[in-house]
Every structure is written in C-alpha cells, then in structure tokens.
C-alpha cells in the first residue's frame, strides 16, 4: 500500500470510530431516559407509603433514656469476634432525626423500580463509557479537547462516582433522580449545542500536564456536583425539619418527598465530606494547570479568565471549609457558600468558555 492509502484507511477507521462513538452516546441517552422514568416510578410508588418518620421524631415528646443503654453484643456463632456495641450520640444541638428510607419509601414496588433504575443507570454508564472510549480512540488522545468531549466525559465520571458510592453501600440512591436529570441535560447540550467533530489537538494542548490537569478537573467537577446536589437537598430537608420542629405543617408534596430523604444532618455531613475530600485534588488541579501554563505560555500564573475563575472557585470552597470550622456559620450559611462555590465552578466551565475570551480557547463553540 502506498502511504497515502494507509493514511486514508486510518482516516476512514477514525471516522468509523467517531461514528460509533456518536451512536453510543445517543444510545446512552436513551437508556438514561429509561432510568429517569424508573427513578420517577420509584418516587411515585414510594409516595404511597405514609412514613412520616421525621414528623414523628420531631413532634413526639422523646422518652430518651438518661444514659444510652448499655449493650454488649454477643455474636451467635463462634467464628465471629465478640465486640461490645458502640452507642453513638449525635452532637449537641443536632436534631435527632432518623434518615429517610429513600425514594421508594419502603414500598416494595417502589423499591423494585429503584433497583431497575440503578440497573439501567449501570447499563447507560457502560454504554456512555464505551462512547467516550470510542471517541478517544478515534482521535488517538484523551477525550478532553473541546466542550463536547468535556461534557460527555464529565457526565460519565459523575455517574461513575454515584455508582461507586452505591457499590460502597452508601445510602445514596436518593441522588439518582436529580443526577440522571442533569446528566440528560448535560448530554443534550453536548450533542446539540456543543457538538464538535472529532479532531486532533492544537500543539498548546500537547502536554502530559493536560492529561493530569484536565482529568483531575473533570473529576473534581463531578464530585463537586454531587456535593452541590446534596447541599441543595440539605437546604430543603433542613427547612422541612425546622418547620416540623416549630410545629408547622409542611405541604403534602414536601411531606411525601422530603420525608424519604436522609436527615438534614446526614445530607449536610455527606455534602461536607464530598467537598472536603475533593478540595485537595482541586488545589492540585490548579497547581498542575499552573505548571502547564508555565511550560506553554511562559508564566505559571497570569490571571487569565480561566485561571482567575479557578482561583475564585478555590477561594470560595476554602471559605466554605472555614465556615464549617467557625461557630455561627455552620449549617445553612455554610451551605449557601458551598452552592456559591459550585456556581463559580459552573461559571468557570460554561461561562468563561462561552462568554469570556482568554488563552483557554479550546471550547470548540
């Protein structure tokens, strides 16, 4: 074969792969849509059960024992190590509210739909992952060259984070519906507005720091996103609990939906953990970016809009972490800071790429 023929053949394969990638992404969207309906079904069936745990916990006069009961757990079989049971007591000032049962609300049919939804999510995740992989193979590089690729990778990672948390047996299925809803939005935006045919990168993007910087940035974004969803739900649940605690009667919808979520304190703690866990990685992302900028543009920090907004996002999250450590700023105020911080992250991604021109001009739109 002549070299021209080889290149042509390679080009054809690449186009073929890019095509496969597109098909997979569309298929993933279809399966996510099915998962979306299954989650809806879970919530709907779950609404049949009248749980009202939160209300019970908050309105009943508590017959708390003076001291936590003493328990020594004795394992039945001989193989299990004996260990005394640890009694956990929530911190001062915290409401003693049990976590909700989850979207299915204890309803058997609801639970079944929930399981179907998770299975569909796994399937969609695999298909989408395949789509991202095919895209990467078609361009022979990491799939992070433009906003279309960011979006598809981002949603894959966000769903991946969710599935890993499920796998670790965390009480997190309640995240399913809001997560899949936004994944569908994200993918819809990707295939319509942001679509860019697969192509190589400009030389400024040829650097292994790109792989490090961008992959951690996407991962951080996905985790921050999970944290933000938990924070928003915390705000709702907290308002709900407050209302109950002060003797109010929340609306039927609130009763039905919010009662099934974990307790506000659990949501808050979950959001904090998620944000705190990923903050060092976000710090690292910015530093990796600075190193890359040092090699590509001759200065490691130049207040380019993208750099500036990464910094703003970083400071906003640092604010949030400080707020959590400061009396008087815990709870709702800190939660607002977390949302502002995530807003900064979002703006850095969409806003700066689209409205502000800077050196990071790779958005492809």
């Amino acid at each position: 074969m002549t070299s021209a023929a080889v290149t042509e053949l390679a080009a054809a394969t690449n186009e073929h792969l890019a095509h496969i990638s597109n098909t997979l992404i569309y298929s993933a969207m279809a399966v996510y849509t099915l998962a979306f309906f299954a989650y809806i079904a879970e919530w709907l069936f779950g609404s049949r059960s009248k749980v009202g745990r939160t209300a019970a916990a908050l309105t009943e006069t508590k017959k708390k024992a003076e001291a936590p009961a003493v328990t020594v757990k004795k394992a039945g079989g001989t193989a299990v190590l004996e260990r005394p049971k640890v009694v956990v007591r929530s911190a001062a000032g915290a409401r003693d509210v049990p976590d909700g049962p989850g979207a299915h609300g204890g309803d058997v049919q609801g639970d079944m739909y929930g399981r179907i939804a998770v299975s569909l999510t796994v399937l969609a995740f695999l298909v989408e992952f395949g789509g991202v992989l095919a895209r990467a193979l078609s361009v022979k590089r990491a799939p992070w060259g433009n906003m279309y690729e960011f979006n598809i990778t981002f949603s894959t990672v966000a769903v991946g984070v969710y599935l890993v948390l499920l796998l670790l047996k965390k009480n997190i299925r309640w995240l399913g519906l809001p997560l899949i809803t936004t994944v569908l939005l994200d993918l819809g935006l990707a295939v319509t507005v942001l679509y860019t045919a697969s192509d190589q990168l400009v030389p400024a993007l040829h650097s292994y720091w790109l792989y490090i910087h961008v992959s951690t940035a996407i991962f951080c974004g996905a985790v921050f996103y999970v944290g933000a969803v938990a924070t928003i739900l915390y705000l709702f649940k907290d308002a709900y609990e407050n209302k109950l605690a002060s003797g109010g009667t929340p609306g039927r919808f609130a009763n039905s939906v919010l009662d099934r979520l974990p307790a506000a304190a659990s949501l808050d703690k979950f959001a904090y953990r998620v944000n705190a866990a990923v903050f060092p990685l976000w710090t690292f992302t910015i530093i990796a970016g600075a190193i890359w900028a040092g090699d590509a543009w001759g200065r490691y920090w130049g207040w380019d809009p993208k750099e500036t907004w990464s910094f703003i996002t970083w400071v906003a999250y640092a604010c949030y972490l400080h707020a959590r450590a400061t009396a008087g700023w815990k709870g709702r105020k800190a939660a607002y800071l977390a949302l502002i911080a995530f807003g900064c992250w979002l703006f850095n991604y969409y806003g700066v790429n689209i409205f502000v021109s800077g050196k990071h001009s790779y958005s492809g739109v």
Binding site: V72, K74, T78, V86, V88, V202, S246, T283, W303, I312
Partner: protein, 579 residues
C-alpha cells in the same frame, strides 16, 4: 439552663448544660481560635489596637476577607486588563468614553495590582500570620502536654461503650494503655481511667498548609518584582545573545537589574510547522517547532535542541519559549541604473491572522539613486499570503503553509523619516514625507508577485525582485525567579491540606472501676473534633481488642435474657443486648 425546660426544641437546652460537663476533655482538641463576642472595648488606644488585631485574626474576619478576595478577583476576569492584553484595553477605552475614566480611577484595568485588591490580600495574609503564630505556639504546647483526664460521665460523649468483666480494674487499665500505645495513641493513666489522644498530624498539616500559603505568596511577589520578559524575532539562520539591547521589546519587574540576565546565546537553524490539511480544523497547527543551537555562558560549548510549544529551552532561571512564527520574503532591489541596493534581504512581516496573512514594510534607506541620479529613499507596503486563493480571491491567506505564496507591494519614494530621531516601527511606513509611485492609471503603483518575479517601478526608477521566502520564529525569554519556591509551597500546601482534612484528631478514654457488686465495669468513650463515623468505628475496634483481654462477665440483671447459644470457651455467660 436545666432539664426542666419543656420547650419544643428539647435538644438544645439540656445539651448546653451537658457540654459544660465535658469541660476540659474537649478543650484544646484544635488550635482554632475561639470566636469572641464582638463587644467593643472601652480601653484607650492600646485597647483599640488589641481589639482591632483580635478582629483581624479572627476566623470570622478571615472568612470575610476570603470572600472579598474572590469577589475582588471577578472584575479582572470580565474587564480587559493591561497586564494581559493592552490592545483590548485601548479598544475598550475607545468604545466606553464615560466608563473608562471611572474604571481608571478604580484601577479596574489592572485589578490584580490595584490598591484595593492588594489591600485585601495583604490584610488576609497579615491575618493569616497573626493566626498562625499563636496557633503554632499553642500546638507546640499541646505536643508537650498530655491528653486530659476522662470526663466524669463518659456516657455524654458521642461514642460510648461499656461492659462488665471479671478482670481487675488495674489489669484492664494496663491492657488499655498497651492497646492504645500500640495503636500509636499518646496515652497515660489519670486516676481510674486511661486517657489517650491521636491525630496531631491534622494540626501539623493545617499549620503547614497555611504557612505554605505564605511561602507561595512571597514567592509569587518575588517573582513579580524580579521577573523579566523579552521578545525576539529571529530569522532562520540568525542568532541571538541574551543582552538587553538585542530584544525587540522588553518588560521587567520593579527590582530587576540588567545583571540578572542569564548569559547565553542561540541560533535558529530551522523552523518547522505542519498544519491540518482537511476537516473542520483545517489550518490548525500540528507540529510547531524550532531547531536551535545554543551555548551557555560566554564561551560555552554549542548544543543542539528543539523548542516546541510546551517545551521551552531552560537555561538557568530563564526559559526560552517559541511563541510565534511568520514569513520573511527575500527581495532584491535595484536602482535606476540597475545597481543592487538591497541584496537578497529577508524582510520579516507580521502575521495578521491564523492563516498567516502578513503585512509589513520594505525600507530601502541608503544607496538608492533615482532616474535623475538623485539620492532618495524607497518604501514599500508589503502584504504577503503564504497561500493565495488565486485571481479574484480575497487578499487573505487560505492556509498557513507555503502552498501558493504571493507578495503584494505598493511603492513609495522620498524620505522614510528614519533619521528624524523618532523611533518608528519597522513594520510600518511613515508616509509623511513619502510620495506614491503612480501607475499608468494614475493611481498608487501596486503589484502582485510570485516567487522569482520582478516588479519594475514606473519611470525607470528601478526594480524589486521577489527571490524567495525565509521563515522566522518569535521567541519569548522569560525569567521568573522563585518559581521553585512557589512550587515547593504548592506541594507542601497540598499535603498539609490533605493531612488537615483527612486526619481526625480524637481522644479515647477507658475507665475501669469496681461496681457495687464487686464486678469491674469498663467504660470506653471517644471524642472527635468534629462528628465523624470514624470515631465510633475506631472505638469499636479498640473495644473489641480490649474485650478480648478483659472478657465480659455476666450482667447483673442478665438472667431473663440468656436465649443465645452459650459459648463456653469465650465467656461464661452472655452479655445482654438491650436498647
């Protein structure tokens, strides 16, 4: 408050009392400054100063300053900045006649070096230092101190467990001490209980992080003060020595001095650019590199290397970046008599767009005589397209590589004004004292040339031959000292941060006393700095180990609840499960 209160928020009141109960046990679990009431001082100047200092170094104000810092950074990302793009600023000034002076007053065109932005971060860092110094001392004190004794009622703590055992209290305490020490707790026996603490690395990490922030800031400021940045455009085959005079333009920090320049020189051997030929990104660079030979010091040995976009040449503190590329048509100019006045000279032109449509000027300064034999100067406006679309196409290049090069010249004669003492751009003609050559149509004389073609000036005034094309590469030489410090600070910051966020500082107490019935009661409790699932988990692990060494004894009121299968080997009878 007391437990008799019957409000609808039953938790708050009793808990307040309970917390006081914890007293010393929970103290000094961190070195975070206590939040003080915002009451105003009634003292004199010193009182006020002290009050101000306390405010400045409080977490609340730190939080506020952090918020302000992020808010303050926003305008700089939305308004054009002189430090980044001067032309955009000029453009903005032209378009916003009323806004621009206001922005100027507020320093909004250079936010990151403006007074107010500096004020925020300097205050923040003063606050940071004011926060760190006492915290460090306190931490050292805590390292030397010992974990506080057990609180009276361990049941009040967030994680708690207890069991009865046949072992003696002293035995249990000894075992507990050994177990805790093995788990790298700092432990000691106080009275009837063992007190232990672990996780000091959290505080160390936190301090390291905040100190690293200061190091980073200083390194950044140092870099700004001593930095230098110069640009040089070099033709293939030409060279450059790193001295101030050789630069086309040069910027430096306030404290930079010429002696700071690293001594080196280099020659551009070859520039290679290849571009995407097809597809939507046609014309996007694929390879973009410059082969150079360089030598360090005055008489260094010559070495060869390739400079690419992400791979600068590093010499000392300096880095040489490949930042641009363009074309330089090679021309020969003859005067009226046919004498060569400009011999195969390459004239660098500046690229205007991504397809390297280029423009510039060819200036013939001396040696030229016109048809009348008078001394004169020649000037040409040059426009160059590496890929010309052909007749009737726009005067914009279609592709960045040399597929169909075309040089368009328009000709002037007279005085170039180069001797007037006013510095002028080599890429532009000063037409004040220049006259146009007129074509046969009476308009400005223009001609489009392909390589090898010659343009004959009207009235036998001479000719210009387009001999060929050379390429040039633009280099930026930057020197940003202390970037190593910035990097080191960053690395420490990350590890410190990870330590401060992932490590829990926690305390464990084990109390063993003889109960009224003469059987030893073991109580264990754990306290973390913040509520965490890890503390109870760890307490459970510790309890399991200790339980092994001090196995359970029958509960006093166990008789009713012995349905479990007995396990004669381990315990004589069951512990009870009750809530």
């Amino acid at each position: 408050m007391s437990t008799t209160s019957k409000t609808t928020e039953p938790d708050k009141a009793p808990n307040a009392g309970e917390d006081q109960d914890l007293g010393a046990a929970g103290s000094q679990l961190s070195t975070a400054p206590a939040e003080e009431a915002t009451g105003l001082p009634s003292l004199g100047v010193i009182g006020w100063a002290r009050w101000f200092w306390r405010q400045l170094t409080s977490m609340r104000v730190a939080l506020l300053l952090l918020l302000l810092l992020s808010l303050g950074a926003i305008p700089g990302s939305l308004i054009p900045q002189t430090g980044i793009d001067e032309t955009k600023v000029a453009d903005f000034r032209d378009r916003h006649g009323t806004l621009a002076p206001i922005y100027d007053k507020l320093g909004l065109f250079h936010v990151y070096s403006s007074v107010w932005f500096s004020a925020i971060y300097i205050l923040l860092f003063v606050s940071l230092i004011g926060c760190i110094v006492p915290r460090t001392w306190q931490f050292v004190g805590q390292l030397r101190g010992r974990p506080p004794g057990a609180p009276r009622r361990l049941t009040r703590l967030p994680a708690y467990t207890t069991w009865r055992t046949g072992a003696e209290p002293e035995q249990v305490r000894e075992a507990a001490l050994a177990v805790l020490k093995k788990r790298r707790f700092r432990a000691r026996t106080v009275g009837d209980a063992v007190a232990a603490e672990k996780g000091y690395l959290r505080e160390a990490g936190n301090l390291a992080f905040h100190i690293a922030l200061i190091v980073m800031l200083i390194a950044f400021a140092w870099g700004q003060l001593f930095k230098s940045e110069g640009n040089k455009l070099i033709l293939e085959g030409d060279g450059f020595a790193n001295t101030l005079t050789q630069y086309d333009d040069f910027k430096s920090g306030n404290l930079f001095s010429q002696d700071d320049l690293d001594a080196f020189s280099f020659n551009l051997k070859d520039f290679t650019g290849t571009y995407e030929l097809t597809g939507p990104n046609r014309g996007t660079p694929r390879t973009y590199q410059a082969k150079v030979t360089y030598s360090v010091g005055a008489y260094g040995k010559e070495k060869t290397t390739t400079i690419k976009v992400n791979e600068p040449l590093k010499i000392g503190d300096s880095k040489v970046y490949l930042v641009s590329h363009g074309y330089a048509p090679v021309v020969t100019v003859r005067d009226a008599k046919g004498d060569v006045v400009m011999d195969h000279e390459a004239v660098s032109l500046l690229p205007l767009d991504s397809n390297v449509t280029s423009s510039g000027a060819i200036k013939v300064m001396d040696g030229y005589r016109n048809a009348k034999g008078e001394k004169e100067q020649l000037g040409f406006n040059a426009f160059f397209l590496p890929t010309y679309g052909g007749k009737g196409s726009t005067m914009l290049s279609q592709f960045p590589a040399l597929l169909n090069p075309m040089l368009a010249l328009s000709a002037y004669h007279g005085d170039l004004g180069v001797d007037s003492g006013i510095p002028q751009s080599v890429y532009q003609l000063d037409k004040a004292n220049l006259k146009e050559f007129k074509g046969s149509d009476g308009k400005l004389f223009k001609k489009q040339l392909t390589v090898g073609q010659t343009m004959t000036l009207p009235d036998g005034a001479g000719s210009v031959t387009f001999n060929g094309i050379k390429e040039w590469a633009g280099f930026q030489v930057t020197r940003q000292p202390a970037s190593g410090w910035a990097l080191a600070g960053a690395v420490v910051a990350i590890f410190g941060l990870a330590g401060s966020l992932f490590i829990q500082r926690r305390r464990v107490w084990v109390r063993a006393v003889k109960g009224a019935d003469g059987i030893t009661v073991v109580e264990m409790a754990g306290l973390g700095r913040s509520e965490s699932a890890k503390v109870p988990e760890e307490l459970g692990d510790l309890a399991a180990i200790l339980y092994d060494r001090a196995p359970g004894a029958p509960d006093a009121d166990d008789s009713a609840d012995s349905s479990d299968t007995p396990d004669p080997q381990v315990v004589p009878a069951e512990g009870a499960e009750k809530q």
